[in-house]
Amino acid sequence: MLNVLLIPALPLLAAVAILFAASPWLRERASRIAIGAISVSFLLSLVVLLQASGHEGHGPLYEGEMRWLTLGTTDISLGIMVDNLSALMLVIVTLVALLVQVYSLGYMHGDPRFSRYYGFLSLFTFSMLGLVLSDNILQLFIFWELVGLCSYLLIGFWNEKPAPQLAQKKAFLVTKAGDLGFFLGVMAIFALFGSFRFEEILAGPKLALIAPAALTFIALALFFGAMGKSAQFPLHIWLPNAMEGPTPVSALIHAATMVAAGIFLVARMYPLFEAAPYALAVVAIVGTVTLFMAATIALTVFDIKGVLAYSTISQLGYMMLGLGAGSLTAGMFHLMTHAFFKALLFLGAGSVIHAVHTQDLREMGGLRKDMPLTFWTFLIATLALAGIFPLAGFWSKDEILLAAWHHSRPLFFLALAGAFMTALYMFRLVFLCFFGAGKKHGHESPDSMTRPLLVLAVLSAVAGLVATPLFGNWFQVFIHGAHEEPSVWLMLLSTLAAGAGIGVAYLAYFRRAINVAVFTQAIRPLYVLVKNKYYVDEVVDLVFVKGSLLLGRVLAWLDHSLVDGAVNAVASVARLVSKAAALIDTYLIDGAVNFAGWLTRALSRVSGLFDLYVVDGAVNLGAWLTGGFSSLLRATQSGQVQSYVMVVFAGLAAIAVLVLFGGMI
């Protein structure tokens, strides 16, 4: 139990030590502390994975909890649970985090906030590990918010520039919109199941007793949260902007781990989704729409990280399609392989950016010679992503396509088209960046950056084999997923699609046999639509941002103008009196305060409290008082005590009518 607790605890301790330490001695050693902590966490995670792999029998490997608070008769606990799903996630998260932290030694070298960077990375790693270890949905939600916060901090790490500021705000708000759905789902779960614990929700007897409509609602609400975190259409708009963060951060958070949290959520709650087939169908459709649209956009982007961002969105769409099509194995398998090759692609892109100091593909070219290590590892990852036999992506993508084939033919063909586009946009990137005439000269990155590339390249090449008969279908057995017999013709078909993509990219961007400009001109309206990312950002901006600003302004106007205006009409006569009094008062500003106090005292004595009970009386009193200290009121321009009192009485009258006669209406 202690060894499991240490896995998230070590990065947390590292984060606290780095971020809150006042001593420069500690701060100088920030990277060593962070990398040391994550290394131990990684080794412990490996041990846990091996234990889980050998674990016979049902139920989680580790479980433990402590009471946190009591709600009515229900105890809410904090706890950890290690089952095969979380054991797998532990290894993926700690491994990628370790490699990214080593890589950052070179990439972030000399940054003035080097130590804070490692503090944030450690904090993120802790939050992500806490998320996968949670034994109840509420705790998962808490860590879900924490990873969101870390993502916010790291996207805006270089916050001197305006773009990262905007990007971090956008990412936070858009994912928050998804979280609204998640929270609704959590509340509904508690209302219906009376518990937050996964065991009681998913394995208990209640799942079979609750109405399917309610389950569908819960599943859709949770999925909405997953859409925000995992950048599914139309909540995907934050991810491309999130690339403003340092590139290793993009690799860790916005490619391999945090964005996969939405996939993990659906996988974690999979029995519930299986009990709600409509929700599962929605998952498949949203995933397919996302994978297709993001792939088309990736074809038109010239920013090297932008291409990878849209590619990530597209691949997350594949994972959702796999889950939605009923295959837990396919979704989780692609999550794993994608974590390796997409992290490698981002780190490779970072290596390129580090060398040539630009992110624009049009300013690159011919870097193959200058950066051989970066080039070869990048090529392996590209082939893996494109789904070329026998690299990792080939196996996991085929698993998804197979599930889609059995689920729905239209979705299958869209996914197949996506596979074609995947190969096309990735090789477009490779040809533009590494081949052709060199416009800028690069140099190979330092060892600290290239070694993680090599490790990831090996994983991208061989990680797919764990789900093949070669390893006795270890992965499928481990995830307890249904195992479907692979179909050879489907493998051929997907290889054909990928090959076609590579071929078209070769002709268009290497041989220049296809004139891209002429082609885009021919389909201009479509191209403009895709180039502008289907205008999703603009629609969101118009509806939500402008809309809520307008609402705020209208309400403010109502509060200020309308209420005052109504009273002004009533008390216009009193105004005249007050103006006259004001003229006198101007000469008596010093005495005004005393005068007002005296007048009020006199008034209350004379007219008595009884006057106040009548609406007319109050307005009159207000008018009198205005006369008394109008110079004060004029000086501050607002004021309008009489209107305030008027509102009080109007409100009282309205409530009284509602309560006394509400029953009759």
Binding site: W68, L69, T70, L71, G72, I142, E145, L146, L149, G156, N159, E160, Q165, K169, F172, K176, L180, L184, M187, F190, A191, L551, G552, R553, L555, A556, D559, V563, V593, A596, G597, T600, S604, L609, L612, Y613, A618, G622, L625, F629, L632, A635, T636, S638, G639, V641, S643, Y644, V645, V647, V648, F649, G651, L652, I655, A656, L658, V659, L660, G662
Partner: protein, 467 residues
């Protein structure tokens, strides 16, 4: 008699401060520390309260009251710590301290009142003293204006409240709260009784700044001396909710069926209006004023629930809200003491000018916005989850939507502190202010990570309250 010891101690303290000033002039700072120590002593006395009734049952000492009294004592101590710099500007320093202590004693009496007239008297002790404190910056036109506004509207609403109370007496022939509850249980409510209840609700609505009785809040909050604004935003809200709980929910419990729709509607309107109007504010005092209105909207949910669950939710929320709001005000006061003003731009680049104040402010804002791991999250969660359990799913949903809206303006301040650069000098808060910040920060972090002890005591109090 022993049950009243904390109140007596605070009164004695107020008088001791006045006397001390007579004997040795110009020792306001020492007197302030003496007050803080005295309040801490009174806090210890509350721990030994014997439960029961006093003075022919006009006052009641119960666990519900004790939790609130402890909150008032801690809150008042923080307010005094925050007043150190502000006090230097006043001609009458010791009088300021004793007035603050009188307000505290009045609030403690308010939450102990078991009878309508006692309740009204206690409420007026608080209200009238607050008029004076609001206008305490005598040379500042805004402050004087705020005092007068509070005065005029305060008396208008007191009139309504008093009329309502007299209607209740007329309908039930008693001013004792338990007797009113018994009288109501015997027959179906008359129109007189309902009108009385509505007027009482409106009277409390003013103290609590429920929309549409909220109009005074922004002007008064902006004009009052900032420590007094902080006091108004936590102490008088807590006291108001406590009496609303005792009168509207417990004594008039059998009218709940008639009032529930109105209370729910008021809650939703109050939270939405408070949050939406806070968005466009640039003066942080006004912003926090509207934010207070929004929090009152959330807490109104507690009055809709069944008494036991509602009382526990309310007490817990009040406790965490008090410390978070005081913390936000503490940072604001540190900045305006340093000459930065009270606009949102005063927070520019605070993270480089005073990192600990910036961290404290972030914690306060996250707590107000209800984001883990600080206590505000547990408070909101407990409140909304209880609302869902009681079947008020839509009200809880409105609360959650509002929480998201509120993050927009809370994050505006965070952004100002962390992203906007500023050449303004470092902020060096006084020792007293540091103590206040540390106290509030510790409270919201501790109750955020480990709320179990506080939850136990509020649930115990609520269970004893409703039997």
């Amino acid at each position: 008699m022993f049950a009243l010891l904390p109140e007596l101690a605070v009164l004695a303290l107020a008088l001791a401060v006045l006397l001390g000033d007579l004997l040795r002039k110009g020792r306001a700072r020492e007197l302030a520390w003496l007050s803080v120590a005295g309040l801490a002593g009174a806090f210890l006395l509350t721990l030994r309260t014997t439960y029961g009734t006093l003075f022919t049952e006009t006052l009641v000492a119960d666990a519900f009251g004790v939790v609130l009294k402890q909150l008032f004592l801690a809150g008042t101590a923080v307010v005094i710590l925050l007043s150190m710099r502000e006090m230097e500007r006043f001609a009458w320093k010791a009088e300021y301290l004793s007035l603050v202590l009188f307000v505290c004693a009045g609030m403690m009496l308010m939450v102990s009142a078991n009878e309508l007239i006692t309740l009204y008297v206690a409420l007026e002790i608080v209200t009238i003293t607050l008029f004076i404190l609001t206008a305490y910056r005598k040379r500042d036109a805004l402050s004087v204006e705020a005092g007068l506004k509070l005065y005029v509207q305060g008396f208008a609403s007191s009139g309504i409240l008093l009329y309502g109370l007299s209607l209740l007496y007329g309908a039930t022939n008693t001013t004792y709260l338990p007797a009113i509850a018994q009288a109501l249980a015997r027959g179906s409510p008359t129109a007189t009784l309902l009108l009385g209840a509505v007027m009482v609700l409106a009277g409390f609505g003013f103290k609590l700044s429920i929309v549409p009785f909220h109009m005074w809040v922004p002007d008064v909050y902006q004009g009052a001396p900032t420590p007094i604004t902080a006091f108004l935003s936590v102490g008088s809200k807590a006291a108001g909710f406590a009496v609303a709980m005792r009168v509207l929910v417990l004594a008039l419990g059998s009218l709940q069926g008639h009032l529930i729709v109105v209370l729910g509607a008021l809650a939703v309107v109050t939270m939405f209006l408070g949050n939406l109007l806070a968005i466009s504010q640039n003066n942080v005092k006004r912003l926090l004023a509207y934010s207070t209105i929004a929090h009152v909207g959330y807490m109104l949910l507690a009055l809709v629930m069944s008494p036991k669950v509602g009382a526990a939710s309310l007490l817990f929320y009040l406790a965490v809200y008090t410390f978070a709001n005081l913390l936000a005000f503490a940072v604001l006061i540190a900045l305006s003491d340093a000459g930065g003003g009270e606009d949102i731009s005063a927070f520019s680049g605070l993270v480089t000018r005073s990192p600990w104040l910036a961290v404290a402010m972030v914690a306060a804002l996250l707590s107000l916005g209800g984001i883990p791991p600080v206590a505000g999250f547990v408070g909101k969660f407990y409140l909304f989850a209880n609302a869902v359990r009681e079947g008020f799913l839509l009200l809880a949903l409105a609360g959650v939507v509002n929480t998201i809206i509120s993050m927009y303006y809370y994050l505006r301040i965070v952004r100002e502190m962390f992203i906007v650069k500023s050449a303004a000098p470092a902020v060096l808060p006084s020792f007293a202010l540091k103590v206040a910040v540390a106290l509030c920060l510790a409270a919201i972090v501790f109750f955020g990570l480990y709320p179990a002890p506080l939850l136990r005591s509020v649930e115990y109090a609520a269970a004893l309250l409703v039997r």
